[in-house]
Symmetry: C6
Subunit: 78 residues, 6 copies
């Protein structure tokens, strides 16, 4: 786990909501990377979940939760 940067850039602060959304996707992805370090295996899994609507919806929930934290951290970019 030590070798992987779980938060690219090391901060929850972003300039815009759009960048906050991109960060939410990255955070979700880095947890998967930290849990499954094998790149080929991750590629194999991506081929599965990206064609399974139930998994896609679940992935959407994960990103939504990550984003809620990032949005609060940025005071909703108000």
């Amino acid at each position: 786990m030590a070798d992987i940067e779980l938060i690219p850039g090391g901060t929850l602060q972003t300039e815009t909501p759009e960048e906050g959304r991109q960060l939410a996707m990255k955070l979700a992805r880095m947890i998967i990377k930290a849990t499954q370090p094998d790149a080929d295996e991750r590629t194999r899994q991506r081929a599965i979940y990206s064609t399974e609507p139930g998994m896609m919806i679940a992935l959407g929930q994960t990103v939504a939760i990550e984003f809620s934290t990032i949005a609060a951290a940025n005071n909703y970019w108000k």
Copy 2:
């Protein structure tokens, strides 16, 4: 991911709760689009999840989480 606008309009602020709700649906959809860029494949998946009640309920959870963030960002339109 760079080519897709994850937040249409680039802001979480909306005029009304109704527009906030529409934005929540769009946010959920854009994550799916960013993860699965193939439009035909997304159409295929939509035909599946829109006829599976369990997936429909899960989709409802995703939108509910997105909306909670948008509602907070708009101070609940109070």
Copy 3:
């Protein structure tokens, strides 16, 4: 999506917690309606999920999340 009112009444404000709860159920239902506009198909799905305890529990989660937003919007009716 344009033709469906996602928030009946257009506001998150309700007089009572009971009405807030009713609104939470309506919000969850309108997302399903917006995603699956075919009334017969929705009726078919309702017959399925209303007899599947796992789906009923998942529906309860969706309503609980919607309600948490509505409750905050009403300052918990304090």
Copy 4:
């Protein structure tokens, strides 16, 4: 839906955390009751989910979400 009281007592305020917890369980149950008004069918479903650990865990999530709202409504009984 009109005939069922979704929040027994009509308020989120409780005297104690323990009563808040009981209310959370009732809220979860009333959504199921409103969605499936047939008492015999609910009894049948209860026999299923109370012996399925995966469903029991999911039920726990629903109650946990309901409770988070009730706890906030009571300012955590501080």
Copy 5:
């Protein structure tokens, strides 16, 4: 439900985060106990979910949600 204490000790306040975490696990467990009062059946279910990674992960979500409420109730032990 009346015979089971859903919150051991009757309060969300704890001295330390560690005790808060223990309370979160107890809260999750008491909901299962209140829903399934038969101790032998609970033991049977525990043997199932403790060997099913998907259920273990779902249990972790339940505890995480319970803990978020307890942490807020204790002002994050700051």
Copy 6:
């Protein structure tokens, strides 16, 4: 449960968001450890969930929820 430290270090406070993210992963892991104390069994389960995309996504949700609490506890490291 008494023998396992559920929060390594005993605090939710971290120096950086990155360390907060690491703590979130540890919190999720300690719940699994407390529920399934057998190390060999946990290793067996890890081999399963780390190759199942649906479980990986669910794990991501758990970490996201834990992180939301840790982030709030640290006032989002602002």
